[in-house]
């Protein structure tokens, strides 16, 4: 950490403090929680891009898998739903996986030729129909049960903190599957394949009502320990005493306290991830990764298995993203598949990594906090600024259109920032050492 970097972090801190001072502390803390989560995701992406040069365009999907983990682990159980078809669904899914494994075995074991193709096709098509036969009735049985409030298999009712590593695990499994297929081919293929898997994960979350209620959304997911609920705080005598002693208004103070606890919790996680990333980056493993990134042929000649190492770092990075995705869902208290959008969840994180400085963990953190702030502040200030800009114009169609579309300015601004940074300062604000 040299002086220049400290100044950069100081400037970002001033942005947040200024927001609190001039607008509201509630907003500033809100943006800070999002900024911290984005910083963790950016760290995950930085492992893939900065250490290894892998281009992942499916960040949204891995974050959404983290969210799914929260719904499955920490939401209250729905015993009737599970009894109606939980085991059937599980059996169906296991059967599906078994068919795919059998097909890969046929591909590996049988000699190349027509017979193998026919056998594989027959197995896959037959397997697909058998899977639907097994799977569909259970799904229907689950979805009819109390569909206004449930209609899903329910969660395990475990603490929300436990869901976070599970989110990382789900994302890791998905990343392993996609990486196994597309790594080792030309670099663009990974980008295209991850773009696809992210869209499909969102489609599954939207349409499989039995899993997490689809677009009917999961609401009321429990908060992670130790975050209190505002209502509880406002009814606790100790808190009221404390608030009146310092002259705070209890309702406002309770919401600030809740956000502060979130900020503390997320900062701890961020600190751990940064510490581990720094250790990894400065270890022989990290040096190997960078040498593979800079010259794959030379690294391969030194006996490094490039594809395996790529797969490894891709899985680890995606797991970090999934972990942060789970944190985000448990903070929101709801899983709303409709709100996942690639511009916000994939490409924004990319801008954070590039602007912050790819290959440098502190750069990713700085980029997350800075771009996260910019993204949300424009959302709250944009219409106001646009009104000022169009003040001289006469009221009418054009003015209304411009004020309404102020939020679309964000895409334009971010695109321009990304292009400018790539062109004039490709190493980012905090360059790799």
């Amino acid at each position: 950490m040299n002086k220049r970097n400290l100044i950069l972090f100081g400037l970002v801190a001033i942005l947040y403090i200024g927001t609190g001072y001039f607008q509201s502390w509630n907003l500033a803390l809100n943006i800070l929680t999002v900024g911290l989560l984005s910083a963790i995701m950016a760290l995950g992406v930085n492992m893939q891009w900065g250490y290894a040069g892998l281009f992942n365009t499916g960040i949204m999907g891995f974050a959404a898998l983290g969210g799914l983990a929260v719904a499955l682990v920490s939401s209250p159980p729905v015993p009737a739903g599970w009894a109606a078809g939980g085991w059937g669904i599980l059996a169906g899914l296991c059967f599906g996986v078994a068919v795919i494994i059998a097909a890969t075995q046929i591909y590996k074991r049988m000699a190349k030729g027509k017979l193998r193709n026919v056998a594989m096709l027959a197995l896959l098509i037959g397997g697909f129909f058998a899977f639907r036969e097994l799977f569909d009735p259970s799904v229907e049985a689950v979805e009819v049960i109390n569909s206004a409030t449930a209609g899903n298999i329910g969660g395990l009712g475990l603490p929300s903190l436990l869901a976070w590593p599970v989110g990382g695990l789900l994302a890791a499994v998905a990343a392993w599957a996609i990486g196994k297929i597309s790594l080792g081919l030309r670099s663009d293929y990974l980008a295209i394949a991850t773009l696809g898997i992210a869209e499909i994960i969102i489609a599954v979350l939207k349409n499989e009502d039995w899993l997490a209620r689809g677009v009917k959304n999961m609401i009321g997911l429990p908060r992670p320990w130790p975050v209190p609920y505002e209502v509880d705080l406002q009814q606790s005598a100790a808190f009221l005493d404390w608030a009146t002693r310092y002259g705070f208004e209890p309702v406002g103070a309770s919401s600030i306290v809740v956000k502060l606890v979130y900020v503390a919790l997320f900062t701890v996680v961020l600190a751990i991830v940064v510490w581990m990333s720094e250790k990894a980056l400065n270890s022989p493993w990290g040096r190997m990764m960078r040498s593979i990134r800079d010259n794959e042929v030379a690294a391969a000649a030194m006996g490094k298995d490039v594809t395996r190492r790529h797969l490894q770092v891709f899985v680890i990075g995606s797991a970090v993203v999934g972990f942060a995705g789970a944190m985000m869902t448990s903070m929101d208290g709801q899983l709303t598949p409709g709100t996942y959008n690639p511009l916000r969840f994939t490409f924004l994180i990319w801008v954070m990594v590039i602007v912050g400085g790819s290959g440098n963990n502190w750069g990713a953190v700085l980029g997350g906090l800075l771009i996260g702030w910019l993204w949300l502040i424009v959302e709250s200030l944009g219409p106001g600024v646009m009104s000022v800009l169009t003040y001289g114009m006469s009221d009418g169609w054009l003015k209304a259109h411009l004020v309404d579309s102020a939020q679309n300015m964000r895409l334009l601004t971010l695109g321009v920032i990304l292009l400018l940074v790539l062109r004039f300062s490709p190493r980012g604000l905090i360059p790799e050492k």
Binding site: T57, R186, A203, N207, S405, N408, L414, G415, L419
Partner: protein, 336 residues
């Protein structure tokens, strides 16, 4: 009779829509594959280029309509399209001048160019949304049908109807003309030949005195034309919505990869492979099968392999199969 009814239902619900969609995808994929062949990167801004060109065409269409200009039975958008193409070509040439050229001179890695195209995508996406908004727009006018289901039933006396929307007919005819022209251009003209030479072996092409800037500029103009035409045809056939165009990126890439990235013929084949698979898998086969089997066997569920919500999954699965078993695609594109 029942067999004929089954065939008519099949043509009406599968062949006609899939052919139109396939033609639209093929044009989009041609654009992506040309950029890949000549400029050597996967252009993530392809979907938003289509959206931009379509938007300009829509604005022009509205203006023409307000001036009272109509094409009779044909959609007004067809006259507006050249303007859309010209403006899009201008935008792409400016983008190339101010953005891509720098990296080309540096001989930057393809991944860097992909990220740069991501930035371009952001900007185009922002411009499109800023100007026309995020809402869905319908801009088709003129006759709706070449042949309605009712007419067909009256002529043939069958119980199944066959409807062909005029936008579907226009799509297919336009696509044939465009593709024929493109292949003539690539095979027979001097510029087309130099483009192919540049795509095959850049160094050798430069050595033989081919002007790289000219090749690149012509490529961008053709890409603008292809993207705008594909976007307008898709918008006429379905509707225009910026986010849908962004999502077209996946089927377009799937089509280009299936055909072999960098191979124009492959892109066309790939477009139809993806479109037909998508429609085949998401179509409810109940009706067709109902005609073909005795009444007692008629299926009581829809016989739909996947719900239409998963149509993106079809492109994705095709992509995975290609990556696993033939990374260079059906028509031997650039190596994997």
């Amino acid at each position: 009779m029942d067999i004929i009814n089954a065939i008519v239902a099949f043509v009406n619900f599968v062949v006609v829509p899939a052919t139109a969609y396939g033609a639209q995808l093929a044009l989009g994929a041609l654009g992506a594959t040309l950029v890949y062949g000549i400029l050597r990167f996967s252009n993530f801004a392809q979907g938003d280029t289509m959206a931009f060109g379509t938007m300009i065409t829509i604005l022009m269409t509205w203006w023409l309509q307000s001036m009272g200009v109509h094409l009779g039975a044909l959609p007004t958008a067809l006259i507006a399209m050249p303007v859309g193409i010209a403006v899009t070509a201008g935008l792409l040439l400016l983008t190339d001048k101010f953005v891509y050229r720098f990296y080309r001179k540096q001989r930057a890695a393809p991944t860097i160019l992909v990220i740069v195209s991501l930035g371009v995508m952001f900007v185009m996406n922002g411009i499109t949304r800023l100007i026309i908004g995020v809402e869905e727009q319908n801009f088709a006018d003129g006759e709706r049908f070449v042949m309605t289901a009712g007419d067909f039933k009256r002529w043939t006396g069958l119980s199944e109807g066959l409807a062909i929307k005029s936008t579907q007919a226009i799509t297919v005819i336009t696509a044939i003309i465009v593709v024929a022209w493109l292949f003539w251009f690539l095979q027979k003209t001097r510029t087309g030949k130099s483009m192919r030479a540049f795509s095959d072996n850049e160094d050798l092409a430069l050595l033989s005195g081919i002007n790289p800037n000219r090749v690149v500029n012509v490529t961008w103009i053709i890409v603008a034309a292809l993207a705008t035409i594909a976007g307008v045809l898709y918008g006429l056939d379905k509707s225009f919505k910026p986010f849908t165009y962004f999502q077209l990126l996946l089927p377009i890439f799937a089509a280009a990869v299936v055909g072999g990235l960098g191979n124009p013929l492959g892109a066309i084949a790939g477009g139809f492979v993806v479109a037909y698979s998508e429609v085949f898998v998401t179509y409810a086969w109940k009706k067709v099968i109902g005609y073909l089997v005795p009444e007692a066997w008629a299926p009581d569920n829809l016989i739909q392999l996947l719900s239409t919500d998963y149509k993106l999954a079809v492109s994705f699965i095709i992509l995975i199969i290609v990556l696993l078993f033939m990374p260079t695609g059906l028509f031997k594109g650039k190596s994997g």
